[in-house]
Symmetry: C2
Subunit: 647 residues, 2 copies
């Protein structure tokens, strides 16, 4: 029956693809037994697909989508025949690559290779942390596996390499990676780009390795999965030798990767598989067989639900916390007036993060925690020995850090933060993009946010990073000019179930009066004068400079407002009236930001009214570098006077 099930999946997949005239038959045919075996063995309830203790299943090779959808349909998830038939069509739930929130049963959006492996590592970390935190004697309410399906491509990606090393280091024994080794990539035989010994590579990173010689033998794969489940202290990779495009005329070739089979080729496939059930239909015997498999899962589900009910009675506050989607925290209590001295925003973020010490929040840095100061006090690193550690030592692995953070926050019951220097945000942009696409609440905290970073020089000084994040849909960037605005940023993260970035300076800045309440509107007048003729719009440390510039200008008889715009995205969703009051176009609007972003042309009176950075920075003392590029208070004052003179 497993063979019939797999034939159903294979034929249905290529039918979906043929109808769509788009998709990837190669992996659908080759990986069918593996994906089927995952669903056969994994624990889930298709009708409660968000159930907290389900096994997680991540398809790092997201181009297996047609196969995944067929499998979800077969296993009674809310994926209809019509859904299968509208594969990859506009408005359909069966999108080109699997997407969280679009279709039931999808635990992570994938497509960009490698990301799925790292997200699976994050899911496995979350499981361990939550199990340690919430399970009580007799109440193993969090106790599940994380399965991840990947191909040759995924394993070449740096993000996967980083994540694999982290998983080995942390001994994530409930992580099972199923590697569909077909030895073919788009450009040809995998050996043209990879002759590494994959088994040895995993062993060197403290993984279990199980080899399955025949990727078409369900028993062998299922046995391997069962063996993997027994691992005590290591994650397991199951290396399964498969044939890309199995059963098709193009089996074993790179052309079958992304080219729909023709009707004739599908007929040949059916003949080869000896499978003639009409298109998209599930044979009644197969239906019964799968229903039997599902009824076992349902029994387990019912058992667990009862356990959970008992847990709820016994441990009501833990139960409540586990199922919360936002953090109740009153940040406004911590609002302070300006101290008129300097403030270290990295110390401030450290303080603010630590207010959340007791919340379900874990995270870490890419080996710069002492510098970004983004870590919890009074806790250890999460490790084999300390499953309650709330800091994660990612090592110098920014990309996996981002993707693993996605996995942690995807799990539910837990959220994640991560941190590095802003210049290195580029290393993890692909992961940030997935946070944004998945609406996944990860908090990215970047420090060292401009050329004022100083001596480390241009490689360590951000320029274009903020432009990327602001141009990226679905994510907000918060660049606060002081502690109160920073609190507003945290408030936003804790109350919205959405990803965001907080961007902070390395250098200390003057502690000016900044508003928690007003910052919750994204932008506001931080200096408001009755007879002002000019508004300076700015963010972060540049607001502080503008604040001082405004004082200089006032001495010269120019009355100036200063607008702090910590979060452009948030400002943009305010009502029109509010926005017009803040950005009052009857005044001269001059925008100042020490970055390469072009967004300020949107608000400035004209293109000459934008003061931005058009080159890389330089090595030198932060203040001198700022001055050199025209961003010191003196130089800004001069430039603004010049602008006013010329207009």
């Amino acid at each position: 029956m497993d063979d019939i099930a797999t034939s159903y999946l294979r034929v249905t997949s290529v039918l979906e693809i043929e109808r769509a005239k788009s998709g990837h038959p190669g992996v659908a045919l080759g990986g069918a037994k593996i994906i089927y075996s995952i669903y056969k063995n994994a624990f889930f309830n298709p009708k409660d697909d968000k159930y907290i203790n389900r096994d997680r299943i991540v398809f790092s090779a997201g181009h297996a989508s047609a196969l995944i959808y067929a499998c979800l349909h077969l296993f009674n998830f809310d994926v209809s025949l019509d859904d299968l038939k509208s594969f990859r069509q506009l408005g359909s739930k069966t999108s080109g690559h699997p997407e969280v929130g679009v279709l039931p049963g999808i635990d992570a959006s994938t497509g960009p290779l490698g990301q799925g492996i790292a997200m699976a590592v994050g899911l496995a970390i979350a499981e361990m942390f939550l199990a340690n935190k919430y399970n009580k004697k007799g109440f193993d309410i969090v106790n599940h596996y994380t399965y991840c399906f990947c191909g040759d491509g995924c394993l070449m990606e740096g993000v996967a390499e980083e994540a694999i090393e982290i998983a080995g280091n942390l001994g994530l024994n409930k992580l099972i990676l199923l590697y569909d080794k077909n030895d073919i990539t788009i450009e040809g035989d995998t050996s043209i780009s990879n002759k590494s010994n994959v088994k040895e590579k995993f062993l060197s990173r403290n993984w279990n390795v199980i080899e399955v010689k025949d990727g078409n033998c369900s028993k062998e794969i299922c046995d391997a999965i069962n063996l993997a489940k027994k691992s005590v202290d290591k994650p397991t990779v199951i290396i399964t030798k498969t044939k890309i495009g199995f059963g098709s005329d193009l089996e074993g070739t790179n052309t079958v990767h992304g080219k729909p089979l023709t009707r004739e080729q599908i007929d040949n496939l059916r003949a080869k598989l000896n499978y003639f059930v009409p298109d998209f239909q599930i044979d009644s015997k197969l239906r019964d067989y799968v229903d039997d498999i599902l009824s076992l899962k349902m029994e387990e589900y019912e058992r667990q639900k009862k356990l959970l009910s008992a847990y709820k009675k016994e441990f009501p506050s833990e139960y409540k916390e586990l199922f919360k989607t936002s953090f109740d925290f009153d940040f406004s209590k911590y609002v302070k007036d300006s101290s008129d001295s300097k403030i270290d925003m990295r110390a401030a973020v450290h303080e603010t993060l630590n207010l959340l010490q007791s919340k379900s929040l874990i995270g870490g840095c890419a080996d710069v925690a002492p510098s970004t100061k983004v870590y919890f006090d009074n806790t250890k690193y999460f490790s084999r020995e300390n499953r309650d550690g709330k800091n994660i030592a990612y090592g110098v692995r920014e990309h996996a850090m981002g993707a693993i953070s996605n996995g942690i926050s995807l799990h539910g019951g837990l959220r994640s933060f991560c941190s590095t220097f802003f210049s290195f945000a580029n290393y993890l942009t692909p992961a940030i993009r997935l946070s944004a696409l998945m609406k996944n609440p990860v908090l990215y905290i970047f420090t060292h946010d401009s050329i004022a970073t100083g001596e480390d020089g241009p490689t360590h000084q951000s320029v274009e990073q903020i432009a990327t994040l602001r141009a990226m849909p679905g994510i907000s960037v918060f660049r606060p000019c002081g502690k109160n605005e920073l609190l507003a940023g945290f408030n936003m993260f804790c109350n919205n179930n959405l990803p965001m970035c907080i961007v902070l300076p390395r250098q200390e800045i003057l502690d000016i009066n900044n508003s928690f309440e007003k910052a919750l509107h994204g932008g506001y007048k931080i200096v408001s004068k009755e007879n002002s003729v000019v508004s300076l719009v700015s963010t972060g440390s540049d607001v502080v400079s503008c604040y001082q510039v405004a004082q200089n200008l006032e001495k010269q008889g120019v009355i100036v407002d200063v607008i702090s715009m910590p979060c452009v995205e948030l400002f943009e969703i305010q009502d029109k009236e509010y926005k017009q009051k803040v950005i009052d176009k009857t005044k001269k609007i001059i925008c100042v930001e020490c970055s390469g972003d072009n967004i300020w042309y949107k608000y400035a009176s004209n293109e000459d009214c934008v003061i931005k950075l058009n080159s890389f920075g330089l090595s030198g003392k932060g203040e001198e570098v700022l001055d050199y590029f025209g961003f010191s208070v003196d130089k800004l004052t001069k430039q603004i006077l010049e602008i006013l003179k010329n207009s």
Copy 2:
């Protein structure tokens, strides 16, 4: 004497750092013997530091800068005492991290960890390719090693993992990686984030591994280097056990990583090293000793120069080609009139690239060559067996692809291109940033440049990518609307010694009359009407849509110019008069680009006159997705009429 040399380097490094009050004593003290051994063994002429056949030396751990500069000074490069004394100061050549073109003797700009390893792989590829191409019997004019110094951090980075695998796959036997294994990272003992068996990891990737137990023994390190040089078909890693902050009070701790030693700690260091030569001075015995080492290198240099002279006489055209910095190629010959049919821009880039078949240009794709069509015909993959192959199979390793491309182009005598889908440009942004910072002529070709990519869905559809690249200093983005503009893009790359990106659609587009000559100004009127009241400014495939929109509008009595702006950066450096003629602000300027970039607010008449993309795309047929988001010709026509009505 080697010990004295190393003591000089150690003390001088920490003195530089102490003066600067900024820098990294940990690696300077710990890695001194390794870096000294590299300079002792490597072949170079400090007075001809760009000599083509010098050994290349890349410091992937760029934070060893103080040590590197001390070493360059000791080995008579043009690095003065004053340079050392102005370490990390504004305007100084001794910048925070080593930078190409800023200081002699630097072969690659480093700082962001991992990049250097990948660039070294690129340099080694270039050496092999050029050796194969130019060497003649008795004329080994290209025959050198590439040394790379790295630390624990570099080896955790995905970009390094990817590059290491590629190097093993290609059998780059003249690549020598010197790993300064001090087992300490910024956050503490390396084991908190890494317990992998590094030796096994390299072996699994077809590398030689040599272990040096005492990182303070010159002989052991030099012997290892000499052994590595004998490798026949594999790259070599020399794993050297060192002590971070060697000799200092903070030896072996993470605090010594980035914290300047105090004067007192420096005194203690001197005592420990038994080294009391005054600050920054070179003992005369040491001077003599190093001069002897250098004179051997000079002998070799003189021998090679003679060989090169003879080669020049014997093979004048090869000689000339090897030293060229631009490609003579007349792209204007290939300019064609519009065909009034559809054009496949990926086929066009394939055709255009292949015009350069005979030029010193190699490159490859991240396993999507059949899809981007960016590859040379009639050649093989560069491999162990085919050192003349002009295509490189990078596998699914975008990040290393970018960084290796940097290495190839840094070498001299050769330039490099690389390619993938535009959405995945995010994976290699850190490498593109280094191209830009180094002014290194790499050609990045990205296809599938918008939501029109279609069925693969939002993970495969670019939105914010072009904003990143335009906000990044030092690099130009060319998004041509037709074949002639594409030729202009290639012309720009071939004649400037600068990096650039070419961005192309997946879908076929209408072949409209586009100008090679005018595109060389970055922006121009592609449709120019005498009585126009509106100018539509656009790029790439969106220009084609605007062209059709203009026809629609004309039917409704609205006379419209269309401005094609394939390269904003190029347009911006035109003279003011030209720019004002193209963007004539007396007309309504409406900008249209199916991307998330905010740059168009700079040119548009006001914020309502920018038509851009504010969300991720969707899975579906390309044309339907475009229509859904308002970028079909019909929807654009309506939107523009609406804008005109409201203004």
